[in-house]
Symmetry: C2
């Protein structure tokens, strides 16, 4: 059973590795890439400074890993949510599915919220290389464009893409700005009752102009 037996050394290594990742996400969420400090991360994670070099190579590499990790968590949640949509669903359902990962994170707080905030910050200050996640990112957006396109016939697809990016930007903003914290204090069903019409309205565009 040597293969199933977990090596306690590697297990401990993984634990500090994950701790560093979580601490980095927490601080990236709170202060952005420029406001992150090596010693603040290691203190929060209860690790030694050199653990960063050992496990990741450098602070920058740790931040890149933390961002990539956060982005992947978010994209997976988003893709699942949109994929589980019924074919007969309306624009409001799409808006609700679109917003659900963020609303969940707002309710849950803790690391989920830190992950969402990190993702949102990346939307403003993107790191040099998005790495291998570009494909998954574009797939996610293509799925949503297709869903929305089926529900709003006659609208140019480039314009739909713009509207979706607006909606995504709005969600990111809500997660970062103080209004998000205010919103989190409200009952969850009211968040949805307020937010979904706004998103759906943005998707549809104002009726007088089309």
């Amino acid at each position: 059973m040597a293969t199933e037996r977990t090596d306690q050394r590697r297990e401990a290594g993984q634990r500090t590795r994950d701790g560093l990742l979580a601490a980095a996400q927490e601080l990236l969420a709170r202060r952005g890439q420029e406001g992150v400090t090596l010693r603040e991360i290691t203190d929060r994670a209860g690790a030694n400074v050199s653990a960063v070099s050992y496990h990741f190579g450098s602070l920058k590499a740790l931040c890149d890993s933390a961002i990539e990790n956060a982005l992947e968590r978010y994209l997976d949640a988003q893709i699942d949510e949109v994929a589980s949509l019924d074919t007969a669903s309306g624009v409001e359902d799409l808006a609700a599915a679109f917003a659900r990962p963020m609303m969940r994170a707002l309710e849950a707080g803790g690391r989920d919220l830190a992950v969402m905030r990190t993702v949102a910050r990346v939307g403003i200050d993107p790191p040099e290389g998005w790495g291998r996640l570009t494909a998954k990112f574009q797939q996610s957006r293509r799925d949503i464009v297709r869903q929305l396109s089926a529900k709003t016939p006659g609208v140019d697809e480039r314009e739909l893409d713009f509207r979706i990016r607006c909606a995504a930007g709005l969600l990111n903003w809500l997660v970062l700005a103080p209004i998000g914290a205010e919103l989190a204090a409200e009952p969850p069903e009211q968040i949805e009752r307020w937010l979904v019409p706004v998103l759906a309205g943005a998707f549809l565009g104002s009726p007088n102009v089309g």
Copy 2:
């Protein structure tokens, strides 16, 4: 004519003061409050490091002044735009007026854009004291709520306030995120043609739920 004669020393002082302010806004816009460096500001402004202590007291005080200056420029523009609305104007007109300062800044680039970006960043990471601008800020939002309330009868005012904050957040996002730069490359009238329906749709909410 001693009073009209400008003192060359004070004039030079004002020039370096303004240069520091502009340089600070430029860097605040690009990297946020955490990413701003004393020497980078003074180099860009062509000033000595101690000029910051002399004219503002500290780097933090300089940043506060730069932020306050940017916020005031923006609020004045916003208030003027909304105040000049015709009483018979529709929701799209309100949306267009609401978005105009940002669209102008996107077209103009340069310091105007830096000012808008600084304002937008403040919406995410607000400094401790907004100081004397809180009143002007709230006046601006009250004006807009009143305008929108007259155009959407029967909607709860708290919900209208939420929609306006969403619209403001979206504008801030557009100015900060890469999509803003893409948008700036398009012809100005297309920016408005795309953006105004989204904002107006968000103001009105989706018709099926509204």
